[in-house]
Symmetry: C2
Subunit: 317 residues, 2 copies
């Protein structure tokens, strides 16, 4: 039941999603405005990279749209199981967001929604057919200082959003986020997690159209989830120590994205547009040797909560 | 002719090298002092991590010694060609240095010298035998602003040092450095290069003892190569723009170390001591979107020189 979706419709949805989110962030920020750069990919497709810097809230943020296509590279054929002898093409489109706020009490947020399909030519008939298609994505929060009330609210809201489509989604996809956003060399999660999902394809339970509706729900939840957290924390005072801690936590963000993140690695190693891929890196970051936070200080409390399996959505606020 | 060296002697040399270099750097800096941390590895061996911060010249620097040993992990057996059925052990020791200076006109320097051996038990006789042993290392310079006079002097001096041992070394190992210290996703070399060599093992030309002598020469050249460059540039004035450019170049250093550097990746993925491995990361770094330096400015001049095959040692000063 791998019914074919209209990829133009998906692409148009992602374009409109980028517009909506950028407008929402600009309004909330009140000062920063996105600058746009359109780019083309020689082999097919392109994108719109949008960057916001030096806002009232956002120090640096990127909201990227791209839709690329062309001949399936060999390694992608292998990955998707298309015989080497067949001609094959791919199409990939999505929206990707990372926001680095200025105030250490406002968390970093990341969201990604994407669609992929591979089309293969049948050797005998010479006709193209959809070989594989799937949705992937997620949304997760990385507070420099974990505010437990916010963390519970973020997860509980995310659970409600997921529950609209399937009561198993939140439990499944939040575990997936815990596993994915993890730095083994630090024994830390990147933040408080959220949801992560990949290769959702039509099966006995769900059609591609139903997954598309779910992806739209996730995309549509970005402002719902982030703006209230911005509003609540944007005017909190902070010290130099807190700012420095923020830069250290951003260092961890850099470590995750450059060492583990599959999207970043895939992009860098397949000649993607470097400036668009690395827009996720923070404006400033720092590394100190062997930082040991004060006992029972806010920094230590945060470190203790950077672990898998906390089940934020189920904690009574 | 894979004669066996005395690994205690090699280890002692590395320990003494760490001492000499730390003293030399402290004297040159005039303010910063190294702090030492000794650590043990549960599976065998350990090290001395030394960090210097907030010096007069050095903003953050690490000079690490380690000597680790134990049972050969499976992937190392595969890499060295030891049959899976044989018992095998390994020993690895070395000194590794990265110095991030405060002044953007003083370059970042990196040096590494290391020895590795694998010992396998013969299945029939039950006796241990040296299976493989080699030296590796190198030294390279990463100026934030390339001073051509310094670059030529650095390479010419390095060539003289290499020539004492073989007239082919400089040409071979400087090419190797050009290839190794390269960021494909930026189409840039990390800096002006230097020398890089790996898996130097006894053959028809050289004995292990001769390679050891060469490695000692490289280790001994660190202060000779770096201190004059510090002296020449440490008191140069710099602007906020130049400081910012330095932080951007440090961002590239982070990208190289986390995405490409084999030592860093190997360490992180094999449960090494994270704080010692990541001591190479800068105290502060930054990332801007799509930085385009002014035409004919010093920043653009530097970018144009971050490429392979410049042959600095052969340019007439």
């Amino acid at each position: 039941m791998n019914e074919e979706l209209n990829k133009n419709e998906i692409e148009q949805y992602f374009i409109q999603l980028q517009d909506t989110i950028c407008k929402g962030l600009e309004t909330a920020d009140g000062k920063g405005l996105f600058k746009e750069e359109q780019w083309q990919r020689a082999e097919g497709g392109g994108g719109r990279t949008r960057v916001i810097t030096d806002g009232a809230v956002i120090e640096k943020g990127g909201v990227n749209f791209s839709a690329v296509w062309g001949a399936c590279p060999e390694f992608l054929k292998k990955e998707t199981g298309i015989p080497a002898t067949e001609r094959a093409g791919f199409f990939a489109s999505g929206v990707s967001i990372v926001i680095h706020p200025k105030n250490p009490h406002v968390p970093i947020i990341h969201m990604n929604v994407r669609y992929f399909e591979a089309v293969a030519d049948d050797v005998s008939t010479g006709k193209s057919r959809l070989f594989q298609s799937w949705f992937g994505g997620g949304i997760d929060l990385t507070p420099h200082y974990i505010n437990q009330e916010d963390a519970i609210w973020f997860h509980a809201t995310l659970k409600k959003i997921c529950d609209k489509h399937s009561t198993s989604y939140y439990s499944e996809f939040s575990k997936w986020a815990d596993e994915y956003f993890y730095l083994p060399h630090r024994s830390e999660t990147r933040g408080i997690g959220g949801i992560f999902f990949d290769k959702l394809t039509a099966g006995k339970d769900k059609t591609m159209q139903q997954y598309f509706e779910f992806v739209k729900e996730v995309g549509g939840s970005f402002l719902t989830l982030y703006l209230p957290i911005i509003e609540k924390n944007r005017n909190k005072e902070y010290t130099d120590t807190e700012r420095r801690w923020q830069l250290l936590r951003r260092g961890r963000y850099v470590e995750f994205n450059l060492v583990y993140d599959r999207g970043t690695k895939f992009g860098l190693l397949t000649n993607g547009r470097t400036e668009s891929i690395l827009i996720s890196l923070p404006p400033y970051a720092c590394w100190d040797y062997n930082v040991t936070p004060e006992t029972d200080g806010e920094e230590e409390k945060t470190l203790k909560l950077l672990r898998k399996g906390i089940n934020w959505a189920y904690i009574n606020p």
